[in-house]
Assembly symmetry: C2
Homo-oligomer: 336 residues x 2
């Protein structure tokens, strides 16, 4: 505005300039935001419904490698992973805070491309990026996204009862197949597998389709693999689950990709993680009624098992009909 | 609960166990939290007032060193820094999300001690820790705190007008003195200087004292030093500021500590950062009236200058009465 301010910008090239670039990249007007990026805190309209809050952190080397993913992909995935938690509560996302710690050796356009990927997804889902923080990290890039949302009738993990039907949305295993393709630097791996790993899509469509009262008893997103997440559901609901191996939906591309490498694709569906599908316990009568009336539900979701008494734990029925205690082999970053 | 669950815990020692430890460390019941740590997202009561959202990230090596601060101090400071932003909006903090990326070589009790420090401050200010994320980072510890709060009448950075009085709470420079003491591994440095650096206190007392209508026109917390933060205030309010050097309040311990080392303590107050005091523009008439009626205001806040027209930029009046353009030397992690 004045020469003096231009001087200030020259003296503080990075911090002011970066904040300004982020503000421009996320400047889409959202009526419910009164004060966005650039003050001590954002000032937003409070929802009329209960407030949902969650955050999701991703660390370079643990969750992603920058030689595998473009900055746009990282921006997309960091937000998508956090959004998936809001979807799993049957909520609507409203506001995002983005904290980013960057290595000084990253290319100058890293931050613009990161925010381009993030903002494209945010705009599509009507989420306002209202703040965050920027820091320097000499060794590893860190991203942490916090979301505020709202839910009139939140679907928690804790309401499943023995006898409930267990459903999973979409297919499992593709994200792990994509990761394997990237790790092995495969030539021309199926694009849908890379996309499944790099650009997951939070299943708000599924969550919305499940909004009939009395239908959902418990819900969780499958971020760490069926093995880990069905256990979380069991633990929170104080029940067990029995899962039919042959019923677990696996995408054809993932199945083919695994088989060609002598891998059982079921392992990827079971313990691969990062599919960001929804795992849902439903009241069996309500499901029969809803699924009969709305055929799209059967396209969106596949029954894979049932809730049982807690004492039974988590069991799998193998293709030959025998039962076994399910291997507990979900993804755990602290165990790698 | 059952043997099977105990087995699951043995197989997943870290993630389940860590989450459980965090849940226990922050399990203080808060009526407005319906679902806390342990689901996909927390479910909380929405405030009746506008929602404040902010986050603050701290990176090992950039913001802290673990040979200088105890895990308790880090937990305290990470939350305090973010709370300071809520104080600077004249808000009340409600809910915190804590994302933590940990090195695998940290002592086993690191996380418990971190949460002890954080939760002690959270409990004192009635903030509920409702969620977050845990990740592994091989090289640097990373903490990001996101806060949701509320403010009936948020104090932004953007309302200062030429003629407004500029005030600062408490004293400046002590946090930098504490950092210098830690960097120099000083023997027996004054405890108040170490505390200023390691355990800053968000100034909700000051923000509350300033709640008279029409009094505050703009407010910011001094996290990066007077130099950087007065510029932010100037930029957001489209005004300039003139600051009397001799009026800047510096604690005696910081003054003595600097002088003994041949350093001008004013430099620490000006550009040291991390004091987490409040820098406030007030209507001069409202201030005169309020300060006359409520003597505690003069104890909490010191007038250091005035807002001017934007063209004047940020100027300092030196002790000999001459004016100069203020050096723009606030803390910028990207410039180190």
């Amino acid at each position: 505005m004045t020469d003096r301010r231009a001087d200030a910008d020259k003296n503080h090239p990075n911090e002011f300039a970066l904040t300004e670039r982020i503000r421009r990249a996320t400047a889409r007007p959202v009526a419910r935001v009164r004060v966005g990026i650039g003050d001590d805190a954002a000032v937003c309209e409070s929802p009329q419904a209960p407030l949902l809050l969650c955050s999701d952190a991703m660390v370079e080397g643990t969750h992603f490698r920058l030689d595998w993913c473009r900055p746009e992909d990282l921006g997309h995935k960091a937000l998508a992973a956090c959004l998936s938690d809001i979807a799993a509560m049957r909520g609507r996302p409203l506001y995002a805070l983005v904290s980013l710690a960057l290595r000084p050796d990253l290319p100058a356009d890293f931050i613009d491309r990161f925010y381009m990927g993030l903002e494209t997804l945010a705009a599509r889902l009507d989420v306002a990026v209202v703040g965050g923080d920027l820091a320097r990290a000499d060794h590893q890039v860190f991203v942490d996204i916090a979301l505020a949302g709202a839910a009139d009738a939140p679907a928690t993990r804790s309401g499943a009862r023995p006898g409930d039907l267990l459903l999973v949305s979409g297919t499992l295993g593709s994200a792990r197949a994509g990761l394997v393709a990237l790790e092995g630097a495969e030539r021309n791996p199926p694009a849908e597998l890379l996309d499944a790993h790099l650009r997951p899509e939070p299943r708000f469509d599924v969550a919305r389709a499940l909004d009939a009262p009395g239908l959902v008893t418990a819900m969780i997103d499958v971020s760490d693999g069926l093995a880990a997440d069905v256990r979380r559901l069991a633990r929170a609901s104080a029940c067990g689950f029995i899962i039919e191996e042959t019923a677990i939906p696996i995408a054809t591309a993932a199945r083919d990709f695994a088989s060609a490498r002598g891998i059982d694709p079921l392992d990827w569906a079971w313990s691969g993680g990062e599919d960001y599908q929804l795992l849902v316990a439903v009241d069996p009568d309500a499901w029969s009624e809803q699924a009969a009336a709305r055929p799209e539900l059967k396209r969106l979701l596949t029954p894979v098992g049932r809730a049982t008494a807690a004492e039974a734990g988590v069991q799998r029925v193998k293709s030959d009909g025998t039962r076994e205690d399910a291997p507990d082999s979900g993804w755990d970053h602290f165990r790698r």
